[in-house]
Amino acid sequence: MGDPASGLLRNVERAAFSAALARLPAALGYRIACWRADSLFLRQDSKRTEIARNLQLVLGNELSPAAAQQVTRDWFRLASCEAVDVKRLRHKTRPLRRLVEIRGREHLEAALAAGKGAILCTGHFGSHSSGFSVLHASGFPVTTIGRWHYKYTAGLSSAERRFWDLYLRPVRRHRQRPNIEPWPGRPQVAVLAAAALRANEVVTIAIDAPPLDSDRARAVQVPFLGHRAGLLPGAVTLAQVTGAPLLMGFVYRAADYRHQVLEISAPVPAQGETATAFERCAAEMSAAISRSPAHWEFWANTDDLAVLGLIPPQRDGSPDAPALQSDGRSLHNGSTDSISARG
């Protein structure tokens, strides 16, 4: 990754560039973002190779080598566009809101009408953080369960943490409450989430996060992308205990790269055995990734894929410090479930 100072400088440059693109007409801004992504795709050899290899390891025969390259290129484009999305959250999200269609809002309205809040399950998929900011600005009080990566990535300087704190401020601004951050030693996470649900808010949870070491014993093995993955079923348990309906929400980017759809499902049945109910959510997530593989952030996170059990364990290595743009997705909330973080 190079030294921290040059990494920070690179992130600042990329953030400034994304901010400039966000002020252009959308068609032009997102087109330039894609050009920039194509240039990074060509230059970042190791990242490109890593993503293509992970795609083929997980999806196997579903993807030809040529298709894997195409998805990889698209992954870079989506990451680049997501950085622009964040910068379009200014002015109460209006610049981004006019590009995002919310489908299935009637499901969310019906769920909230019962007064028990709603749990919106998602994954590290598409521009989910900005999409939920748009949802909040559209009148649904949104609170997110998730950790901000810059708070826990080891080795970040205070300047880098400050950068990420400022960079993500537009996302944070469009939430009902501060993120409910699961950590070991912080057992009140589910109770705080329940409090948000009691206040009839929408609580978002990414169910595809690799479990923390302290939570692995609680992971359940579910069919996922043709494999079995160890995921935390906390969203289902939360729904069972609180009575809040469980819905799925995914943000898809259109072929023109500037328009997006936040698709909200009808409630997924959460009754019955927890693992069985959670399998339904994982199946929805898995189907979304299979349909639009480039939207999934984790193709570049080899260690996370290994922890999930989707690829064999990799060589030893500490996580890199996050970078913006080609890693634009590492600006997201990091692991966003771990709701059962042990105290």
């Binding site: 057992p187 109770v191 329940a194 609680r218 939360l238 205990v241 609180t242 709701i339 059962s340 105290g343």
Partner: protein
């Protein structure tokens, strides 16, 4: 009150039979009995059983360290109500 809470935790939240019988001093957090979701179950139970509502400020780990500390906390926050509920 101790008996009611101890019974509930023993019956519903303890996963490892080796931890039973549960004493009122057993550390619920260090022993792994309480994690995020089991704490939620316990809070829902306490609210229903004792007619209280817990806010963010009540969710301090020290209030849930053991059956005894839970009872101390409940008595301190609303002495009259706990007495009536129990009596």
């Amino acid at each position: 009150m101790e008996t009611v809470i101890n019974d509930y935790i023993s019956r519903e939240l303890v996963q490892d039979p080796a931890l039973l019988p549960l004493t009122d001093e057993t550390s619920l957090l260090d022993s792994g009995i309480l994690d995020s979701l089991s704490l939620l179950r316990l809070v829902v139970f306490l609210e229903g059983r004792f007619g209280i509502t817990m806010g963010d400020a009540d969710l301090l780990p020290q209030n849930f360290a053991s059956v005894n500390t839970i009872c101390t906390y409940l008595r301190a926050r609303d002495p009259g109500k706990q007495q009536a509920s129990h009596g």
